[in-house]
């Protein structure tokens, strides 16, 4: 799998596990890079299974939600499954305020999320 600047991507049991490298996802420049790299991961194969792991992320702007929404749409169109995990409480608030915690499949940690793919 190709290498990314802002993501660690590995294939575990046919799931593309994507770990965000940055602890702060705030500025537009980073969002642009993430948009390009996430599109590459998602558009990688038909019916992809993708897990987005937020364990390194300490701060995240609400603009990142829009990008996750775009990824969500793409995955749906490609008949893929998208799950997210290890979201800190401070960041989970951002999801909760906009009710997006109900739209995305969010799990406590990578183990729980991987089980849900089985």
């Amino acid at each position: 799998m190709s290498t990314f600047r802002k993501l660690n991507v590995s294939r575990v049991k046919d799931v593309d596990v994507v770990i965000f490298k940055d602890s702060k996802i705030l500025d537009e420049e980073l969002l642009d890079e993430l948009r390009t790299e996430l599109s590459a991961v998602v558009g990688n194969r038909p019916a992809p299974d993708v897990l987005l792991d937020f364990s390194n992320v300490e701060f995240m702007s609400s603009a990142m939600l829009g990008l996750l929404g775009v990824v969500h749409r793409k995955m749906k169109k490609a008949d893929g499954r998208l799950k997210m995990c290890s979201i800190r409480p401070e960041i989970f608030t951002v999801f909760k305020l906009t009710n997006l915690d109900k739209l995305f499949s969010i799990y406590g940690d990578a183990g729980d999320a991987m089980k849900a793919f089985e």
């Binding site: 969002l31 603009a63 829009g66 990008l67 929404g69 775009v70 749409r73 906009t98 009710n99 109900k102």
Partner: protein, 462 residues
């Protein structure tokens, strides 16, 4: 020039070898000495045809060696060339005094050195000393007694002059290069100045454009003269940059209905504000086919869209993947002024705050997604009936999520407290207090997000 025998006095081994190679390549035989004393032994051992000597050397320097050669009757007619840097005019006098026949300045061109040698060999040195006179020469405050023959003086003069001419030619070339470089520098400078002027022009243009865009965005805000009987209105709007993703409005939809909203487009700056302006056009209270709020009903009357219809329509128009991930949250309400009945919809927006006359504050949370996330999704509509004196507040997340220097959020509770205490003041005073509480919270950095607050107090039915 025929092959000749040459003694070279030079203390630097490398320079000695280089000079030896030049001379040997030209067909001559060379004997090397590392200082004047050794060279004197060599020339006395066998008389050479030419002597070439460095000046700075240990044991016996070039001047002493030269003097020794020229005072030896057996050797005095052997032409002697001094290798000098000629950094000081006194060097010439010293060389003349020592009896040197020629100067070649270091670094030398091999061809030039060979030519000087040829010249010297072609002009045999006078053997008599009759033409010699002792002259006093004063240079740089020092008097030298110089004893030299005419021939030698002439030779030395010519070699010095030739040296000067050569150096002058080199200087002319350097000068020309310098002048070319200077012209080049001038041209580059002119280009740089022109570029700077262009950047400054573009910068001014961009500033003007941003100011114009900010004015367009200001046009989305409420008209100052919105006055409705029984209803008090107040609002504050503070973008964190010159252009904002937030905007708010309150307006009359018809004789009995008031519409109000706060919209928060994700991100800041130009892309977010362009989207805000576009969304604002659809949320126009002017009756038209393009307004999502009030349309002609086809029978000469007008038709008000319900808040959930408005959210549904906007969601169809602004899907985030077509706007490079930009989305927005919105709280839109329609108040029936005579009855105090408020119908509203929230698209992922911060909760509506209701504050009763006794100060009880309630946040009404709703479950709608932001506009742009899920195509074809329906938005639930809520309604509540206001009691006389009730206040409601619509606001952007820049209020509860405002962060202080320790990255702690202002929070819902602090907001509710300010709004409750505000019951002692007028509505406008309360909205102003909330804004200043947020700004105080964010000292010293100031809010990092746009802050919008829209308040309404219902005075009761007619």
């Amino acid at each position: 020039m025929n092959a000749v025998d040459i003694v070279v006095a030079e203390d630097s081994r490398i320079q000695a070898r280089m000079l030896e190679k030049v001379l040997v390549d030209a067909g001559h035989s060379v004997r090397l000495a590392e200082h004047g004393g050794k060279a004197l032994e060599l020339v006395r051992e066998r008389r050479p045809d030419v002597i070439i000597s460095d000046i700075e050397m240990p044991e016996m320097d070039g001047y002493s060696f030269c003097k020794a050669v020229k005072s030896d009757p057996e050797l005095r007619t052997v032409p002697l060339i001094l290798l000098s840097t000629l950094s000081d005019p006194v060097d010439i006098i010293r060389g003349l005094d020592a009896g040197a026949d020629n100067y070649v300045t270091k670094p030398y061109d091999p061809g030039y050195l060979l030519a000087r040698m040829g010249d010297l060999l072609a002009t045999p040195i006078e053997t008599d000393t009759a033409g010699e006179a002792t002259l006093d020469v004063t240079l740089a405050g020092q008097t030298f007694q110089v004893k030299a023959g005419r021939q030698q003086v002439l030779n030395l003069l010519v070699s010095t002059f030739e040296n000067a001419v050569t150096k002058n030619k080199e200087l002319v070339v350097v000068n020309r290069d310098l002048s070319l470089a200077r012209d080049e520098l001038q041209r580059s400078n002119q280009e740089l100045t022109a570029l700077n002027e262009r950047i400054s022009r573009i910068n001014k243009q961009m500033t003007r454009d941003l100011e114009a865009a900010a004015r367009v965005q200001q046009s989305l805000l409420p008209d100052e003269e919105v006055t409705v009987p029984q209803v008090d209105l107040a609002w504050r709007y503070v973008p964190c940059q010159s252009l904002a993703g937030d905007f708010l409005n309150v307006f009359q939809l018809d004789a009995e209905h008031l519409g109000l909203y706060v919209v928060d487009v994700s991100g800041h700056g130009v892309p977010s504000s362009l989207m805000a302006v576009t969304v604002g056009r659809f949320l126009s209270p002017k009756v038209s086919d393009s307004s999502l709020l009030v349309r002609p009903d086809g029978n000469g009357g007008i038709k008000l869209a319900t808040p959930s219809e408005v959210a549904f329509q906007l969601n169809g128009l602004f899907q985030a993947d077509e706007f490079s991930g930009l989305y927005f949250t919105m709280l839109y309400g329609v108040l029936h002024v005579p009855s105090g009945r408020l119908r509203y919809v929230s698209a992922g927006h911060t909760p509506l705050a209701q504050v009763a006359a006794d100060g009880t504050a309630t946040l009404h949370e709703m479950s709608g997604f932001p506009v742009g996330f899920v195509p074809e999704v329906e938005f639930d509509e809520e309604s509540l009936t206001l009691s006389p004196g009730d206040r409601i507040y619509l606001y952007s997340d820049g209020v509860p999520e405002a962060m202080n220097a320790e990255r702690e959020q202002f929070g819902d509770e602090a907001m509710k407290a300010v709004l409750s205490q505000g019951r002692r003041d007028g509505l406008d005073g309360t909205v102003a207090s909330l804004l200043s509480a947020v700004e105080t919270w964010c000292v010293p950095n100031g809010p990092l997000d746009d802050v919008s607050i829209l308040g309404l107090e219902w005075g009761g039915g007619n």
